[in-house]
């Protein structure tokens, strides 16, 4: 978005329409990698791609509800024309050039409303782009919309957004708008935020790929916070290759984020297709999955066979002694840090959303003693050391992406998701099947790796993806 105010979703749907636009939605189904190949070979133009995505949004947004704010369609087309012109003039910026993408409505966008779905931020117009947004634009991507989330990103559901696989089902949260839009081909790619699994969970529920990078790998400058030491930003994409492309664009040091790493960003595509022959794949003991749905477990164990078929060695690993305390640490740290962030709002404004559990949570977090937070951080440090030891013996650690088919409720426990927010280790969720009860909802698996080894989990995810066809399936809308 280039400094002009976006349209509300309602205004867009009322029809500042695509006058004369070709209503062909076919191109919206392309992945980034596919679209980039076609743009590079002049088979399609960024304008055709944009028209296709906008037509798709115009037809489906009333049913999916993925966006809080959409850029004016004519402005989207202008930006696509600019991209087309730049490419024709030899100014090709790479595979994201001309790609219509979206960002969660926690990402600051210059001159465009950024609400985090909070009434408190209703009138907030950032004066700068979040670093992630700026990096996407620098790579040539066209940010066409701000995607939906629960109030302040709290919770595992995204009210107002519908799962493209079953419109009566929630898409999961908190980056549910991004996941639903990508699954419905209303965006070619997107980003979200992940504090307790909020990229991986909705990606899994919507049958797409969600990657939470290592803490410090992607800048959080200009991102509305939940919890400073647990928040991560990562891509949501149709394929593992697309996730790698998006991560490559948004990763890297940012002097405006003091937690940002100075490590060089590798080419995440370089090792993507090298396979997992003789890799050591760690998995949790079955006892830790006893509460998981049967469909979820079946999909998980079938996935492990796919890894074996690829030449990997699958074996159980023992979780650290602090594993069961890790979830509790994450909850305490999250709510106390959120309380600190919200203190200014608690004192000056009562207008949280109606019936808001957010206000009650941050008030409760305000009441915990400082010693509780410190103890949680000490146990966290111990857990991270122990987890490092576990990961020193394996290449990748694989779990189900979530416990049940369909999204958990707002208080659903997700220990295998939250431990990677607590530890900062990278983790990715990818499609791995469909449920029988409720029928037809996507299932996923999660792969985690050592810090800054996103290449490793991408390689494992790609190997699994290429051996299956779950990622090729699309919801009928």
């Amino acid at each position: 978005m280039t400094g002009s105010e976006g349209l509300s979703r309602r205004d867009f749907l009322r029809g500042r329409a695509l006058t004369g636009a070709r209503r062909d939605e076919e191109l919206s189904g392309l992945t980034i990698a596919e679209a980039a190949r076609q743009i590079a070979s002049n088979a399609i133009s960024p304008v055709e791609l944009m028209r296709s995505v906008l037509a798709r949004i115009q037809r489906l947004e009333a049913r999916v509800g993925a966006f809080v704010t959409l850029l004016d369609p004519e402005q989207c087309l202008d930006l696509a024309r600019d991209a087309e012109h730049d490419i024709e003039m030899g100014g090709y910026r790479g595979r994201l050039h001309g790609m219509p993408v979206g960002v969660k409505d926690t990402h600051y966008t210059e001159g465009v409303p950024t609400t985090a779905r909070s009434p408190i931020l209703d009138d907030f117009l950032p004066r700068f782009d979040a670093t992630v947004v700026a990096k996407l634009k620098a790579a040539g991507a066209i940010v066409i919309g701000k995607t939906n989330l629960p109030e302040w990103s709290f919770g595992g559901a995204t009210p107002g957004t519908h799962n493209p696989w079953n419109l009566e089902v929630d898409p999961g949260g908190s980056s549910g708008g991004s996941a639903a839009a990508v699954a419905a081909d209303m965006l070619i790619g997107a980003t979200g935020g992940d504090t307790s699994g909020s990229v991986r969970l909705p990606a899994s529920v919507c049958g797409v790929v969600g990657l939470k990078p290592t803490y410090g790998r992607v800048s959080r400058n200009g991102i509305v916070a939940i919890s400073w030491s647990l928040d991560h930003v990562g891509p949501i994409a149709k394929t593992v290759e697309d996730a790698a492309l998006l991560l490559g664009a948004i990763a890297g040091h940012d002097p405006r984020d003091r937690t940002s790493s100075r490590r060089a960003v590798p080419d995440y595509l370089a090792r993507l297709k090298t396979g997992i022959q003789r890799w050591k794949v760690g998995v949790p003991a079955p006892a830790l999955l006893e509460t998981y749905d049967r469909d979820v477990c079946n999909a998980f164990y079938e996935a492990l066979q796919v890894f074996r078929d690829q030449g990997a060695m699958v074996h159980e690993v023992a979780m650290p002694r602090t594993f069961f305390a890790a979830y509790a640490c994450q909850r305490i740290i999250r709510v106390v840090e959120a309380a600190a962030y919200h203190r200014r709002y608690l004192r000056t404004a009562a207008d949280y959303g109606p019936g808001s559990g957010v206000r009650h949570q941050v008030l409760s977090g305000s009441l915990l003693p400082g010693a509780a937070y410190l103890r949680a951080q000490q146990v966290r440090a111990s857990f991270v050391r122990e987890l490092r030891a576990v990961f020193s013996a394996i290449d990748v650690f694989v779990t189900p992406a979530r416990e049940m088919a369909g999204p958990p409720g707002p208080t659903g426990a997700r220990p295998f998701n939250t431990i990677f927010n607590l530890s900062g280790f990278p983790a990715i969720s990818i499609p791995a099947g469909f449920s029988s009860e409720p029928p037809g909802l996507p299932l996923g698996i999660q792969m985690a790796g050592r810090p800054f080894e996103e290449e490793t989990i991408l390689t494992a995810a790609y190997a699994y993806e290429q051996a299956t066809d779950w990622h090729k399936r699309r919801p009928e809308l």
Binding site: S364, L374, Q377, Q378
Partner: protein
Amino acid sequence: MRGPGLERDRHELIRDLAQQAGVPVREDELPQVAAIYAELLLLLDTVESVQLDVEEESAVALDLFAWETVPEGPVAAREGDAP
């Protein structure tokens, strides 16, 4: 103590804690805040059940992601850490 008496005491505790913390908890919010606070105390019990050794307790690792610069092995003691 059970029933209304316990609830009254819990609400009184929340009022006191909120006053000490300087945050405004409205009367109609007391039940929800008290319920979440009780849940957090249970989580805190779980956290406090973890036995940390002296080294772990003395090294207040608020440089949370020191591991970024320590590729392998235990976190080294830093100059200035308490013995």
